[in-house]
């Protein structure tokens, strides 16, 4: 058994890409082993820092297994002439196989056969052949070449390679690097090259040179160090994304506690947090009540900060950033949001759709339509219009110029500062919500209206100029915008039809396309967020896809009853009815015909018909109150009558008139009972089958 150590020494890999590179490296290595028929008995582990990807495979075989190769040639009749001499065909086969014709034998199938053993190659030699491809097979979104046009690509230059199989260097060479047994430690805390002969020496060599190889080790050191620094009563706001970034931005993380002047706490917490978290990659620190304090934790890629040099440096940068923010805040107050409307003419929304000024106009129209469609009360309607008018104006502020990720929020904060009503300010603040598939929607109806209008106007505009997404590509995030529409409507319980939403966004040929696009997101939401099965989603949408909130109400009711035994049996019966109707091939005549009560047979058929009447009335009554669960339970009571019907009644009767009448009966029943969901689309569990 052999152990492999592979280390790819690089210049600093972007932190966000390291985890993916680790996965790719392991995947590529495993698939190379499979292709080489090398079975690894032990573990394969991958670790990484910004400057290295390291793979250790334990328990590799020393060589491939020997394998038997069987080559089959021409049959005896073709291979030998009547005198028993080999023909040209036989000679050709032997030559191709590289043996004398005498070495061939006749197989059981009467064909010339060569059976030979191929010795497995040494793992060492095989790895020498494939490791370059394994390394270069790691995929990155924007790679580079560094040895000249056409040379291998990687995310940053590869500067050294360690490839050791049981202490022997596996020779690998590409892009100006040749494998060896020499690695390097931390850029500043390491001392020169480190010669290693095994994975153990590698790990200890790195440790001695200030590199903590294991990502989890660095993560726990960051958190533990930071918490140890905090005085009692202070808590780290341990943002997990930031933590992950810092783990892959450092080889030797050390926490440094800094502070800033308390007067900066007057700035909005959104701004403070963005500066610290996003721009400076510092952890914020809160007190026991959860309020932000004037402390922060920076993570240095260093061993210690004994002189406080690092702390003072980070404090200085943070002070400058906060100063900027304060300057922006004060500067921005020189003109109010409404004064900024005109400036929106100079801010492009989309080249063919014009500026944010025209975008605002379109949004306002959409809000007006929504107000009407949803019968929004006068005060909210007015608030929504006001908020929509001001919503984009923060794009002209210095603050958003500096912190684009705070668009909307800054507008909301400025609106409050400038005396707009809280409703309006909150709506502006929230109007980019929801940000995606999860996360909140705007907290108030006013905010929901503005956000909805913004998205509908965007979708309508983009569809109009032909920028709807194709395939998996969606550079303008229109799927997300459409999902936002669906989420706001569903989660905000806004009773508006898809058709109305589409009509607000666009007209003409694009309308049906946009409707399908929204419908697709509705289906997606039902399955992914709603947790309804694909069949349930199909069933409720087949009954009607007109009003999303109604679809959701029916899906919920269906979820309540669908796993009861009566219901699953019903689903089976409905499927049967559908099949009968489809196979009878009489759709036309059934469609046109009227049910003839006189032709109903006494017993199961007449009973089913009789029990349908009260159930139908009950459904109508409950559906009107959107009490779909009660309707469904009413439908479920039909099970015994339906079961008996199928036991006793032969639908495809000999008599033409009777047969047609039965089909008409079933069709009308199916129609009457499918207002909530098309039950025939529901997969019944095996118990009911």
């Amino acid at each position: 058994m052999s152990n492999l150590l592979l280390e790819v020494g690089t210049e600093e890999i972007p932190a966000r890409l390291v985890p993916g590179a680790m996965r790719d490296l392991e995947k590529g290595f495993r698939s190379a082993l499979r292709e080489l028929d090398l079975k690894c008995e032990g573990q394969i582990s991958v670790d990484a820092t910004p400057r290295r990807l390291a793979l250790v495979a334990e328990g590799l075989p020393d060589r491939q297994r020997d394998r038997t190769e069987t080559l089959t040639g021409p049959s005896k009749q073709i291979a030998f002439d009547p005198d028993g001499n080999p023909t040209r065909a036989a000679l050709g086969f032997a030559r191709k196989a590289g043996v004398a014709v005498e070495e061939l034998e006749l197989g059981d199938d009467g064909k010339l056969t060569l059976r030979r053993t191929i010795a497995g190659q040494r793992t060492h030699d095989l790895l020498a052949r494939v490791l370059a491809d394994v390394v270069l097979g790691v995929r990155f979104p924007r790679s580079m070449y560094w040895m000249g046009k056409g040379s291998p690509r990687f995310i940053r230059p590869i500067r050294w390679l360690v490839a050791l199989l049981d202490g022997d260097v596996v020779p690998v060479e590409f892009a100006g690097v040749r494998s060896g047994n020499v690695t390097w430690g931390h850029r500043r805390l390491g001392t020169g090259p480190i010669t290693v002969n095994s994975a153990e020496e590698y790990r200890s060599g790195l440790r001695a040179n200030a590199v903590l190889l294991a990502a989890e080790g660095r993560a726990s050191k960051i958190v533990a160090d930071a918490e140890a620094l905090l005085p009692a009563g202070y808590e780290l706001r341990c943002n997990q994304r930031l933590l992950q970034t810092l783990v892959f931005e450092t080889e030797h993380p050390t926490a440094v506690l800094g502070s800033f002047d308390e007067s900066y706490l007057d700035l909005p917490e959104e701004v403070l947090e963005t500066v610290m978290l996003v721009h400076q990659k510092y952890f914020a620190v809160e007190d026991s009540s959860g309020a932000m304090t004037n402390r922060f934790v920076a993570i240095a890629n260093s061993a210690s900060d004994t002189d406080g040099v690092i702390r003072r440096g980070h404090e200085r940068v943070l002070r400058a950033r906060f100063n900027d923010a304060r300057f922006f805040w004060q500067f921005d107050q020189r003109s109010s949001l409404s004064d900024r409307l005109e400036e929106l003419k100079a801010v492009t929304f989309q080249a063919s759709l014009g500026s944010y000024w025209s975008k605002t106009e379109t949004n306002l129209e959409a809000v007006a339509h929504l107000n009407e469609a949803l019968s929004v009360d006068a005060s909210d309607a007015k608030g929504a219009l006001r908020a929509a008018r001001l919503a984009k104006t923060d794009l002209t502020t210095e603050m958003v110029g500096e912190f684009p990720e705070l668009q909307g929020k800054i507008g909301g904060l400025y609106a409050t500062a400038q005396g707009e009503s809280q409703e309006v300010a909150d709506a502006i603040y929230d109007h980019y919500l929801p940000a995606g598939g999860s996360g909140p929607i705007p907290r108030s109806l006013v905010g929901q209206l503005v956000s909805l209008a913004d998205r509908l106007a965007t979708l309508g505009g983009m569809f109009r100029i032909g920028l709807m997404p194709t395939g998996s590509k969606d550079p303008l995030a229109l799927r997300r915008a459409a999902l936002g529409v669906i989420r706001i409507v569903l989660e905000g319980s806004l009773a508006i039809s898809l058709d109305r939403l589409v009509a607000i966004a666009c007209a003409g040929d694009n309308a049906p396309k946009l409707r399908d696009f929204l419908l697709d997101r509705l289906r997606f939401w039902l399955q992914e967020s709603g947790g309804f099965g694909a069949d349930s989603a199909d069933a409720v949408l087949a009954a009607s896809d007109a009003v999303p909130v109604d679809v959701l109400a029916r899906a919920r009711a269906l979820a309540e009853v669908r796993h009861t035994s009566d219901f699953e049996a019903l689903a089976v019966s409905f499927k049967r009815i559908r099949n009968i109707l489809e196979q009878s091939g009489t759709a036309e005549s059934v469609h046109g015909a009227k049910l003839d009560l006189a032709l109903l047979e006494d017993g199961a058929e007449a009973d089913l018909h009789a029990s349908l009447q009260p159930v139908g009335a009950r459904i109508a009554e409950c559906n009107a109150k959107r009490d779909y669960a009660t309707s469904l339970r009413a439908i479920a009571t039909l099970r015994p009558a339906l079961d008996r019907y199928f036991d006793d009644v032969l639908v495809m009767a000999e008599d033409d008139a009777v047969r047609l009448n039965r089909l008409v009966f079933l069709a009308s029943m199916l129609r009457a009972l499918s207002t909530i969901a098309d039950f025939s689309l529901i997969d019944a569990g095996p118990a009911a089958a």
Partner: protein, 300 residues
């Protein structure tokens, strides 16, 4: 404590020892050291070239009338081009910091992803911003494409932000407090620039005049490029003034920035004007690569 000019001189001396030509600033207005011919044109082709120079870089929209402690209409970049990038280029760079008194063993130094792209130059590269105790002090780029052309060899470009570096080393809060030398501060030397050019770019620049200038420089550049594309004897081709055509491109780029700061470029125009400048830059780069063959005597 090192003064501003000592920092500059030490860095220049360091890069001179690494075999760089020490050039003087380019004499057209540019937004960044990258735009100078010493970078933009020299990175094309496969000839090695190592050069360092300070480039005053004008960004009209960034002016703040001298009121903001960190933002400048014109700032100084130390631009270093190492073509091809040596294997130990990152170490060479880090040693340059030691050269100006930064003891890296006491600091937090990180190379954070920062890719660079200039649509007006048809150029991009990948690299980092070098963060020293949380402060971005240098942009480090491996060029991949310039003037829309894949580069034959990959140069490293190091761009030091000299004001930031000096403010850091001198531990001052405002760039205007930087000691330029023992007697004068940065404000003494440069404040008037900032005040007056902010006023010019935001208030005074005559939009009609600047537009006209833009169109004239564009026309001159195009005229030259057309001439270059016509029948020329090898000698004429070799000494054809493509460098002058590139000056015209840079003029256009700067005038565009001025118009932009002045708020004179409408929404629909902006992308088109960028495209116009880019077309010039890309055409000059193509012609330049062609011309190198004549200079090298290959295509006679």
């Amino acid at each position: 404590m090192l003064t501003f000019q000592e920092i500059v001189m030490r860095l220049k001396a360091y890069w001179a020892r690494q075999g760089c030509i020490i050039q003087e600033p380019f004499d057209c207005e540019v937004g960044a050291g990258t735009m100078c011919p010493e970078t933009f044109l020299r990175v094309l082709g496969s000839e090695p070239y190592n050069v360092a120079y300070v480039q005053p870089s004008r960004r009209p929209a960034d002016g703040r009338y001298g009121e903001n402690p960190n933002r400048l209409y014109k700032h100084m970049q130390l631009q270093v081009i190492l073509k091809p990038a040596p294997e130990d280029v990152v170490d060479l760079y880090l040693k340059s910091l030691e050269e100006i008194g930064i003891d890296l063993s006491k600091h937090d130094c990180k190379l954070e992803e920062d890719n660079w792209e200039s649509p007006t130059l048809g150029a991009w590269g990948v690299g980092w911003q070098v963060m020293l105790d949380g402060l971005e002090i240098t942009q480090f780029t491996y060029f991949q494409q310039c003037g829309g052309l894949d580069l034959d060899v990959v140069p490293a470009e190091l761009t030091y932000g000299l004001e930031r570096l000096a403010a850091f080393i001198q531990d001052v809060e405002s760039v205007y407090d930087i000691r330029w030398n023992d007697r004068w501060t940065y404000a003494d030397v440069r404040l008037a620039d900032e005040e007056q050019y902010s006023a010019y770019n935001f208030e005074e620049a005559d939009v009609g005049f600047v537009w006209e200038e833009f169109n004239l420089h564009e026309a001159e550049c195009k005229r030259l490029l057309e001439r270059y594309a016509s029948e020329l004897a090898p000698l004429e081709r070799r000494r054809f003034p493509l460098l002058a055509a590139f000056d015209q491109t840079l003029k256009c780029s700067h005038l565009f920035n001025t118009l932009q700061a002045r708020g004179a470029i409408s929404v629909t125009e902006r992308a088109q004007v960028i495209q116009r400048v880019r077309n010039l830059a890309v055409a000059v780069a193509k012609a330049w690569v062609d011309q190198q063959r004549y200079s090298a005597g290959e295509a006679v």
